[in-house]
């Protein structure tokens, strides 16, 4: 068993930047990869060293990303906001113990995915169908042209047709632009598993978009 695990890890570690389908993702911007002098990491360090205002600044700067991911995964604005509150409360309690502040981004993505999974299960238990939520998803408070609103609604409805794992990989990889290794870390799966889910999800998403009259 350990031999198998080691093999997979070796396999995945040397291949982190290559996407499932050749040509995709070569020029993507990750945004989180260049972490030397990352102001968010500096804020976390300052908070760990006793600056109480640093946490507020950190939270306000990271909230958009956390809320966005939770919103895409849950398809519900209020649930996404509560998931974000869960994430930052956990960060408040555990953030001082993060030994490597550079790992902040990975920690936040992982916690966000976990919080969204937990709330998603609760939503399912309450038998609120995801499609109903997703239908009203793009209509509440978003700005943009009418065409863009229609496009956004179609995309998000198509996202709602994916399985939770597929939605997670698409949101983290294709929308947030994370590297495969970071997606695997956030989902706590192997990189090859991410690739499998991703290729399946992309094709499924394409079919769903085409059914809605969108041909990218």
């Amino acid at each position: 068993m350990w031999k198998v695990r080691t093999f997979w890890l070796v396999l995945s570690s040397g291949d982190t930047a290559s996407p499932v389908i050749g040509g995709l993702g070569q020029s993507e911007q990750s945004g989180d990869r260049d972490r030397d002098g990352d102001p968010l990491v500096e804020l976390l360090r300052a908070w760990q060293q006793g600056d109480p205002d640093a946490f507020d600044a950190l939270m306000l700067r990271m909230h958009g990303k956390v809320f966005r991911v939770a919103y895409r995964l849950l398809g519900n604005r209020s649930e996404a906001e509560e998931a974000a509150q869960d994430v930052f409360w956990r960060l408040y309690r555990a953030g001082r113990k993060i030994r490597e502040p550079e790992a902040l981004h990975g920690w936040v993505y992982r916690t966000t995915v976990n919080a969204a999974r937990s709330r998603g299960r609760r939503l399912e238990a309450q038998s609120e169908t995801a499609s109903m939520e997703l239908a009203a998803w793009s209509a509440d408070g978003e700005v943009g042209t009418e065409d863009r609103l229609v496009l956004r609604e179609a995309v998000q409805q198509a996202l709602g047709c994916l399985s939770p794992k597929e939605r997670e990989v698409v949101v983290l990889r294709d929308i947030e632009g994370l590297e495969i290794a970071d997606v695997a870390s956030a989902m706590r799966v192997f990189a090859v598993t991410v690739r499998t889910h991703l290729s399946r999800a992309r094709l499924k998403l394409r079919r769903e978009l085409e059914q809605r009259g969108i041909h990218p």
Partner: protein, 228 residues
Amino acid sequence: MRWRFKRNGGSPAATEADALRRALQRQRALLMDLRDDVADEGAAERTRRYVRERARAEDDRRKSVGGWWDGRDWFQERVWVYGGVGAVVAVVVIALLLLPDATWGPRGFPPAVLTAEVLLSHGVARRYPEPPDELRSPGLPRLERRREGYSRENAGSRREAPSSVTATAVTKGESAHGWQHAMNQVTEISVERDGSRRLRLRSENPKVVIYLLESETMEGATKEDGGE
């Protein structure tokens, strides 16, 4: 794969694969373009207030509760570790105690499945539980296993070993003596011939009570063996 298609001048399959790849590239670009369309609309400020208020409430609670663990995060961390290990150990110990066939521990437990066992080794014929007198009335059907499978060769330690036992299964009923025959509720009647040498009656019905009524010493046991 791609270089081979190019050398062949582009097969239909290669063309299709290229088209799919380009479509997925455009799809990805579309998704990334929509990335920043989600606005949190003041949710950040609400989250900041939520965390602050919850942190303050937590501090107040700690101060009001006090105690030697006040403010000690190490205790909060380790209590789960120690508690978890303790719970696992407790579960294992309880499971071992409840094993009905364990060579130690309370026999006949748990009561959900009642088992009457007649321990033949060392001549101990247990009456567990002690049957009421009315069960000894001749009108009540009984199960008899007389010298079944207990030969001198496989008897092992035969000191005062009973050669026959009589047992019955009853349940509370409306008969004159308050008990009702329930042998039809017995799902297992077995005589283990090796080592343990026990007669076992087993019923899955928790209302059924199984009683050992009689046991006799094995016939023909030698004096050295403790026989008559």
